[in-house]
Every structure is written in structure tokens, then in C-alpha cells.
């Protein structure tokens, strides 16, 4: 590089220009095909967009690995709920969760509110999948529940819906998933685990189960699902509580 020739300068300039315009075109295409996550602003936006887009290009219809009964973890683990569940939860728990309801609203033709008994009466499915926490630990369990897609069928989403926002009885735990995960056959509204009702430490009576993402996307104690075409109106507009705490919205990695 001791002598920067004119030819090298022109070639370098051309490569930079092609690269830069390539990035602009790629960004436009990614936005067009819904490959840009809601927390794509900021210094880590490019990395997040690469991860989310790359995974959606290869795994849109892929199934999470399923395991055999003998591979179920004898002792699953759950972090302590911190701060502890409040008075409202305790009151519902004392009533054996018979008054627990899941409200489904937003951009839907038939908003509804289902009791826990109604959800348990829907045709249930099971899956034996791996739950990995971002901390590094994991376990395998058999989950029983209703595919989220079945509930979405009942309430008839409007065609422009792009995300399903889930709210917990703990207001600080709210999340959202795109339609690739919302309609995915392994995404459950889960009410059972390893042959029993879903235990409270594991999110009982009702949690979301999103096996293609890390544990924090599988929101515990869900009370409300809201369908939307725009996440800007929720919280700080980053898609979920996770990015507000400094964590990625898309947790496929």
C-alpha cells in the first residue's frame, strides 16, 4: 500500500459505493419482508437485524427439536419470581384459578375472554421440548396446551395483524412475537406440564410456550393477548419489556 495508485483508489471507491448501496437495498428489502425487529434502532440494531432476518429466512417453518419421554428432565428448574406474585394472583390461586381469564383483543373480528376451564376444554396438544434460559441453564419438559393458532382462529385476526402481544398478571412481564411464531404449530398457550396442571413456579396456571426462542419469550401467568400491526404503541415502542431492560426482543439465539 506504499503507493496508493489512482487505479486502487478508483477500485476501492467503487467497491465502497457498491457495498453501501447494497446495504441500503438490503435494508429496504428486509423491511419489506418483515425481517427487521422492533428493537433495530441503536448501536446493536445491525446485529439484531442480521440475526432475526437470518433466522427467519432459514427457520420460518422449522420445528423445534422434540424429545422422547425418557429425555424429560427429572428435575426442571425455574428462577424465583422476583418480585413475588401479588395479592391478585394469590386470590385467584386460592380459588383454584377458576376465575383466571385470558382476554384476547386488538385487531380481531371477534374479541373474546376465555376462562381457564374453557381453554382446558379446547383440543389439547403436547410437545416435549427444550427450554433454555439466557443465563445458560436448560431443561426438557412435556408441555400440554392449546396451539396459539387455534385461539387466533376463534377470534379471527384482521389480515394486517403482524404481532401478538402477551401480557402477564405481572405488569412488567410483557412480550410479543411475530406471526411466524404466533402461527407456529409448537407455539402453545400451555396449561399443563409433565402430566400435571402447570405448576405456579413454571408459569401456572397459564403461560405462553415459544420453544424456538429462549425462555423469557415464554411469558408466565398470561392474562391478555393483543393483536396488532404496530408495536410502537406498546411500552417504549421497542416491542416488549425485554429491550427496555437491555435484552433483545428476538430471542431465537
Amino acid at each position: 500500500m506504499s503507493q496508493l495508485s489512482r487505479r486502487k483508489l478508483i477500485a476501492g471507491g467503487a467497491i465502497t459505493a457498491v457495498g453501501a448501496s447494497g446495504l441500503v437495498v438490503a435494508a429496504k428489502l428486509a423491511a419489506r419482508f418483515g425481517l427487521v425487529p422492533p428493537d433495530s434502532g441503536g448501536v446493536y440494531g445491525p446485529g439484531e437485524t442480521f440475526t432475526y432476518a437470518a433466522q427467519r429466512l432459514v427457520n420460518r417453518h422449522a420445528l423445534a427439536r422434540e424429545f422422547t419421554r425418557s429425555q424429560i428432565s427429572a428435575q426442571p428448574f425455574a428462577n424465583l419470581v422476583d418480585p413475588p406474585l401479588g395479592e391478585e394472583f394469590r386470590r385467584l390461586e386460592q380459588g383454584a384459578f377458576s376465575s383466571w381469564r385470558l382476554q384476547v383483543d386488538g385487531m380481531v373480528a371477534r374479541p373474546a375472554s376465555f376462562s381457564l376451564a374453557e381453554i382446558k376444554s379446547f383440543a389439547a396438544r403436547t410437545q416435549i421440548t427444550h427450554l433454555a434460559c439466557e443465563e445458560g441453564w436448560s431443561y426438557i419438559a412435556e408441555w400440554k396446551g392449546v396451539p396459539l393458532s387455534h385461539i387466533l382462529d376463534l377470534i379471527a385476526p384482521l389480515p394486517q395483524v403482524r404481532y401478538v402481544v402477551s401480557r402477564s398478571i405481572k405488569p412488567e412481564w410483557w412480550e410479543s412475537v411475530d406471526m411466524a411464531d404466533a402461527l407456529h404449530p409448537q407455539t402453545f398457550v400451555a396449561h399443563g406440564m409433565n402430566g400435571t396442571d402447570l405448576p405456579v413456579p413454571f408459569g401456572g396456571p397459564l403461560r405462553l410456550r415459544v420453544p424456538r426462542q429462549l425462555g423469557y419469550k415464554s411469558v408466565k401467568y398470561i392474562t391478555r393477548l393483543t393483536l396488532t400491526d404496530n408495536l410502537k404503541q406498546f411500552g417504549k415502542g421497542l416491542g416488549s419489556a425485554a429491550p427496555e431492560e437491555g435484552y433483545a426482543w428476538y430471542a431465537g439465539i
Partner: protein, 229 residues
């Protein structure tokens, strides 16, 4: 030029991966083998350090500040930079004969006596002659090839294997290691090997003459009449 630019971009990305990788491990410095592992199952081994999470004290009565959020963001962003830079380096390295010319050992150098002589010279910290010093010897060539074609691919593979999203699309990412937790453990050990390589690499640069080497690594200029790598 290509080797130098990709080298320094990879250096920055690698340092970011190293720091953030430590931050991520600190949240759960327990390692396992197989598909699963958690605080209720026996560990393969535990690093005796304080942790950043209340769920696992590891015998300490204090908790480090939790840095996982930005560490994970930066870890994956740096991983993308390292992977894309690495691909670029591989493609152009092959096209322009960099691997054949600078890194592939001559077959005559691979004979056991020759190998032993070279290793012995390394272990005795013998300074190479001025002529030898600007081309890699057989041990260095083999080490670089192992880092480029074994350790980096392995650390990327096991990194992807920990991702539930990628592993759904490509289950073999996990199954060849016996599970997600095995992949995490291998990822940790390969990172340690890469760190060891980095330390020896820096030592060798210092040993060979820090100022002239750094000048060569940054500007591409070797001593008079020699073309740098």
C-alpha cells in the same frame, strides 16, 4: 492489505466477543454435558467465581452487577462481524493464494525430524535469523491453519448450536455434540484455546520485535527490501 484489514477487524470483534463472553458466563458459571443442565442437576464442572444472578450464589455472599443484556447484543453483533470478515478473508485468501503461499507448510518441513527441530527451537526461545523471521515456520503455519480452519469454525458452530432458532432449522448443529449443553461446554473450551492462541501470538510478536512487527502488521511494511504479510 486484505490480510491486515481482516486481521484487525477480527481482532476488535474477538476482543468484544471475549469480554462479553465472560460477562455471559458469569451469569451461570456451571457447565454440563448432554441436552440439558441446571441448578438441580450435577455439573460437569463449576468455575469458582461470583455470579451476576441471585439464583446461583456459587458460595459468595454478594452478586456482581448483571451485564447480560448489552453483552448478548454485543456478542452477537461482534459474532456477525467476525463471521462475515472471516468469510471475506477465506474467499479472497483462496483466490489470491494467501493460504498456499503463506500458511501451507512445505511438505519437506512436515517430516518428523524437521518438525522436532522447529518445535525445539521454539521451546528454547531461539531468535530466528533475520531471513527466517519474515516468513512463518512450520509450527506457526500449522497453528494458524488450525486456528483458521478448526478453532474458528468450531466456535461458530457451537455458538449457533446454542441458539434455539438455528437449531430448529438445523438440528444436527446440536445432535452431533450430544445436545445443547455439550455445545455450550465445547464453546467455552474452544474460546479458552483461542485466548491461549491470542496470548502466545502477542508474545511472539513481542519476542520478534514489537515495534517493527506492529509496524508491519499495521502498514504492511517489513524491513528494507522485504514485503510484509
Amino acid at each position: 492489505m486484505l490480510v491486515r484489514v481482516t486481521h484487525w477487524v477480527t481482532t476488535l470483534a474477538f476482543l468484544a466477543l471475549l469480554v462479553t463472553g465472560v460477562e455471559i458466563v458469569v451469569s451461570h458459571p456451571r457447565f454440563y454435558w448432554g441436552e440439558t443442565g441446571n441448578l438441580h442437576t450435577p455439573a460437569l464442572f463449576t468455575i469458582p467465581i461470583p455470579t451476576s444472578r441471585h439464583s446461583f450464589s456459587n458460595g459468595y455472599n454478594y452478586t456482581l452487577p448483571d451485564q447480560n443484556g448489552w453483552s448478548r447484543y454485543l456478542h452477537f453483533q461482534s459474532a456477525w462481524i467476525a463471521v462475515l470478515t472471516g468469510l471475506f478473508y477465506l474467499v479472497f485468501g483462496f483466490l489470491r493464494g494467501h493460504f498456499r503461499r503463506n500458511l501451507l507448510p512445505a511438505s519437506s518441513d512436515l517430516s518428523p525430524p524437521k518438525l522436532i527441530t522447529t518445535i525445539a527451537a521454539h521451546l528454547r526461545f531461539r531468535k530466528p535469523s533475520e531471513g527466517e523471521a519474515w516468513s512463518y515456520n512450520v509450527v506457526q503455519r500449522l497453528t494458524y491453519l488450525a486456528v483458521i480452519f478448526v478453532l474458528f469454525p468450531l466456535v461458530i458452530w457451537t455458538g449457533l448450536a446454542m441458539s434455539p432458532g438455528f437449531a430448529s432449522a438445523f438440528p444436527a448443529l446440536q445432535t452431533v455434540w450430544g445436545g445443547q449443553q455439550s455445545a455450550r461446554t465445547i464453546h467455552f473450551f474452544v474460546s479458552i484455546l483461542l485466548l491461549l492462541f491470542l496470548l502466545v501470538h502477542i508474545f511472539m510478536v513481542w519476542f520478534a520485535g514489537f515495534r517493527t512487527r506492529m509496524r508491519a502488521m499495521i502498514t504492511g511494511r517489513g524491513p528494507e527490501g522485504m514485503e510484509g504479510p
